[in-house]
Symmetry: C2
Subunit: 431 residues, 2 copies
C-alpha cells in the first residue's frame, strides 16, 4: 500500500450546513490528510494522526493555505470553450449565433481531442476535479473527452447531445441514431474506471417526443447512468416549450412524461419554475445546477435558492461554460452570493463550500465516492493559497475567524487561488 | 522637451459611441502614441508618425497588447480596503457593522498613510489612473491620501466625509467643523498639481440639513471643486431619506435644496430614481456613478443604464470598494454588462470602454485633460495583455475583429490583464 500525508489547514463538509449547522463541517487548523492508494485513509488533527504513520511516510506541508475537497462542476459544455464571452445575446439567439456553429466543429476528432485537453487542464487549474459535461451531437466528441479524462485519471461524466429538431441539420441526429450512439457510448465508457455516462438531450425544444422517449428507454435499460439537460432557463424558452409540448403540464413535465426524472438527473438552471415543478423535482429526487455566471451573462434571471431550500431540492453549482464566463467555482460562488443578495437571501460561505463540494457530489449521486474527506473516498483535493494576490493577502490578514477567511477566498479568489490540485492522491496541477 | 513614443495597437474614444457610432472612436492596428513632456504629442498610424520623430527618440514596443487610456473610477472609498468582501448584509447594516468601525481607524495618520499607499498601488495594478475617492471624516485621512497621490503624480480627487448624525459619535463632525475642515483642505490641496477636492457629505441620512447647507455654501465659495455623495442605492435607505427630509420632494431634491447639484457633482448608484429625479439630474448636468459589483454584492439592485441614456444623464463607472469587491474596472465592466443583460439592454464593448475612460472623465468634468489620446492631454495610459491568462490567450485567437477582442478582455480580464500602467508618460506599474 502506498501511503502519503498532507499537513495544513483542512476544511470539509460532512452534510448540508443549512440543516446541520456546525455539525455539518470539520476544520483542523493543523490537520493531516492521509492518502492510501489514492483514497482517503484518515483526516484529522495532525498531532493525533502523525504518531500512527510509518517514519518513511512522505508528508507534504501546505503552509498558508487551505486544503479542501476538489470542486465539482455540475453543468458545463466542453465544446463551448471558444465561445466564452460571446457578445450581446440571450439564450435562443446565443445558441444559434454562437453555440451551434462552435459545436459543429466537433465532427472533427482532432478538434475534439485538442479542446478536451485544453478544457480539462483549465478545470485542474481552477481546482475542479469532477464535472458533468455536455459533449456535442457527435459520438466522437464524447470519445475524445473520455480519452482525455482517462489520461488524467479524472472522475468525469459526459454524454453525447441528443438533438433532432430546431437546430442546424449538421447538428441533428434522429431518435434511432441518438439511441444507438448513446447506447454504444454507454457500453464503451460508463463505469469504465472513474467515468460515467449521462444521457444528454440538449433541452426540450431541440428534441422530438420520439427522441425523448428513446432517452427514457435508455435510462430504463441503464439505470446507473445520469441524465443531463436544461430546464427553465429563459422566459422565451419556457413559452416555446409550452407551444411545442401542449400535452405537458409544464416544462418539467416534458421530461417527466418521458421518464427522465430521478436521483441521477441534473437539470441546469431552473429559474422560472412553478410550485408544481419545484414539488415534482423534490418528489422525484431530481437535481438542479445553479449557474449564476451564465444566468447573469446571458441575462436569464435569478435562481431562487431560497425556494430550492424550501422544497428541499438538491442543488449543485455549475459554471455553464460557455454561457458562463468563468471556469472558476470560486468566481461562481462569488456570483451565486450576489444573485442571492439581490433576493435578500444570505448564502453563507460554508454553504457555498458545501454546494461546490459535497452538495455537488450529492447532486451527481456520487456522495459515496467524492465530495469530502471521509475515509475510503477518492483523494481528489485542492490547496487554496492565502497569498494568491496582493489584495487577498492584505485582506486575509484582517480576518478574525475561519468563516471570514473562507468568504474572502470565495469572493476575491479565482484560478490564482488554486495553488495545487491533487487527483487520487497525485499532484496534477501546481501554480 | 522630452519626447518618447509607444508603438502597438491603440484604441481610444473621441465621444460617446451611443450617439456617434463609429465616429466615436479611433483604432490604429499599428499605432504610435507620442508623449511630449508627459502629455500626448500625437496619436495615429505608426507609419505616418514615425518619420516625424527625431532618430534619438525612445520607442517602446507593445506587442500582443492593446494601448488604452487609463481607467477612471468615479466612486471608491480608500478607507474601506480592509472590509472588501465582508459577509452578509445590505447597505445600512453593512455601514454599521463594517464600514464605520473600519473608518474609525483613520484618526491615526499612520493607518491612513499605509492604507493610501496600498490603495494607490492597487489602482495602478488594475490600470486605474484617476479616481474620485472618499476619505473618512478625519481631515488627516485626506492629507495622507493626497500625499500618497502626489508621490505617484496621480490625478486624484478626494474629500473628507461630512457626517453629523446617525453614525458613531467618534465619526461625527458638526456643520461648523465640517465646513472649516473641508475649507482648509480645499485651500491646502485643491488644484495643487494634479489633485482636486470633492465636498463629500456621505449621504443624506448622515447629514443634518444644517450640514448640507454648509456643504452648499462651500461649493458656492469654491465653484471648481467637486461634490461626491451617494444617492438612492437601497430601498430602505430611500424610505429613510423620505422620513428624515419630509420637506423634500425626493432623495435628489435633498441635495438640490442644499445647492449640491451641478456638472461637477457625482452621485453614486442612483438605482431607485423617479422620473422627476432623472430629469433633474439631466437638467442640472449632474453625474451618476454606476457601481455594478457593489450593487450586486450588497444586493442594492440593478442600475438602469437604458433610462440614464434616455434622459441623457452622464454616467461613469465606479468600483465602490469596499461595497464593491474588485478594484478592477475590467471586472466592473463584466458585471455592468451582466446587470444590463438582466434588463435586456446591450452594453456594447466600445460603450463600456467609453464609460471606463472618456465617459468617466466627463462625469468628473475632466474631459479637457484626461480620458483619451487627444493632443495636449495628460499621458495616462495602460497596456492590456492578450496573453494575460491561458483562457484569454486561447479565446483571443478565436476572435474575428477588434470588438470581439475588446469584449473578451473586458469579460475575462482582471488585474492580470494590465501589463503596464503609465502616468504622465512614466511607467509606474509593470507586471
Amino acid at each position: 500500500m502506498t501511503v502519503s500525508a498532507h499537513r495544513g489547514e483542512i476544511l470539509h463538509c460532512l452534510d448540508d450546513p443549512r440543516d446541520h449547522g456546525e455539525q455539518a463541517w470539520q476544520y483542523f487548523e493543523d490537520g493531516l490528510l492521509i492518502v492510501e492508494d489514492g483514497h482517503i485513509g484518515a483526516c484529522g488533527e495532525a498531532r493525533r494522526l502523525l504518531s500512527g504513520l510509518a517514519d518513511s511516510t512522505e508528508i507534504h506541508q501546505h503552509a498558508n493555505g487551505l486544503i479542501l475537497p476538489g470542486f465539482i462542476d455540475t453543468h458545463i459544455h466542453y465544446p463551448q470553450c471558444e465561445i466564452i464571452a460571446a457578445y450581446g445575446t440571450q439564450l435562443i439567439d446565443w445558441l444559434q449565433r454562437y453555440a451551434f456553429p462552435a459545436e459543429s466543429k466537433f465532427e472533427d476528432p482532432n478538434t475534439a481531442a485538442a479542446t478536451a485537453d485544453f478544457f480539462l487542464d483549465e478545470l485542474l487549474r481552477n481546482g475542479t476535479t469532477t464535472a458533468l459535461v455536455f459533449g456535442t451531437v457527435h459520438p466522437q466528441s464524447v470519445d475524445a473527452f473520455f480519452e482525455a479524462a482517462t489520461r488524467r485519471n479524472l472522475r468525469m461524466i459526459c454524454g453525447k447531445v441528443m438533438m433532432d429538431r430546431n437546430a442546424p441539420e449538421v447538428l441533428c441526429d434522429t431518435p434511432q441514431t441518438s439511441y444507438a450512439d448513446s447506447k454504444a457510448l454507454i457500453n464503451r465508457w460508463h463505469e469504465k474506471g472513474r467515468l460515467g455516462y449521462a444521457i444528454t438531450p440538449r433541452f426540450a425544444p431541440t428534441s422530438s417526443s420520439a427522441q425523448l422517449h428513446m432517452a427514457g428507454r435508455l435510462l430504463k435499460e441503464h439505470p446507473t447512468v445520469h441524465v443531463h439537460s436544461h430546464l427553465s432557463e429563459n422566459k422565451k424558452e419556457c413559452q416555446w416549450v409550452g407551444e411545442l409540448f401542449p400535452q405537458c403540464k409544464d416544462y418539467l413535465d416534458v421530461y417527466e412524461q418521458h421518464g427522465l426524472l430521478g436521483r441521477r438527473s441534473v437539470f441546469a438552471h431552473g429559474i422560472h419554475l412553478s410550485d408544481r415543478e419545484w414539488r415534482r423535482l423534490q418528489e422525484s429526487e431530481s437535481n438542479l445546477a445553479f449557474c449564476p455566471t451564465s444566468n447573469l451573462f446571458i441575462g436569464s434571471g435569478l435562481f431562487n435558492l431560497n425556494k430550492a431550500d424550501d422544497y428541499n431540492v438538491k442543488v449543485g453549482l455549475g459554471t455553464d461554460v460557455g454561457g458562463g464566463d468563468s471556469f472558476s467555482l470560486l468566481r461562481t460562488i462569488n456570483e451565486a452570493y450576489k444573485v442571492q443578495q439581490l433576493q435578500a437571501y444570505n448564502l453563507a460561505p460554508i454553504r457555498s463550500l458545501f454546494l461546490a463540494t459535497l452538495g455537488g457530489a450529492t447532486a451527481l449521486d456520487l456522495q459515496g465516492v467524492i465530495g469530502n474527506f471521509e475515509t475510503g473516498k477518492e483523494a481528489d483535493f485542492i490547496v487554496l493559497d492565502y497569498y494568491a494576490t496582493p489584495l487577498i493577502n492584505f485582506r486575509i490578514t484582517k480576518c478574525k475567524n475561519l468563516m471570514e477567511k473562507l468568504f474572502v477566498m470565495q469572493m476575491l479568489g479565482d484560478d490564482r487561488a488554486i495553488r495545487e490540485t491533487w487527483i487520487m492522491g497525485q499532484k496534477k496541477f501546481a501554480r
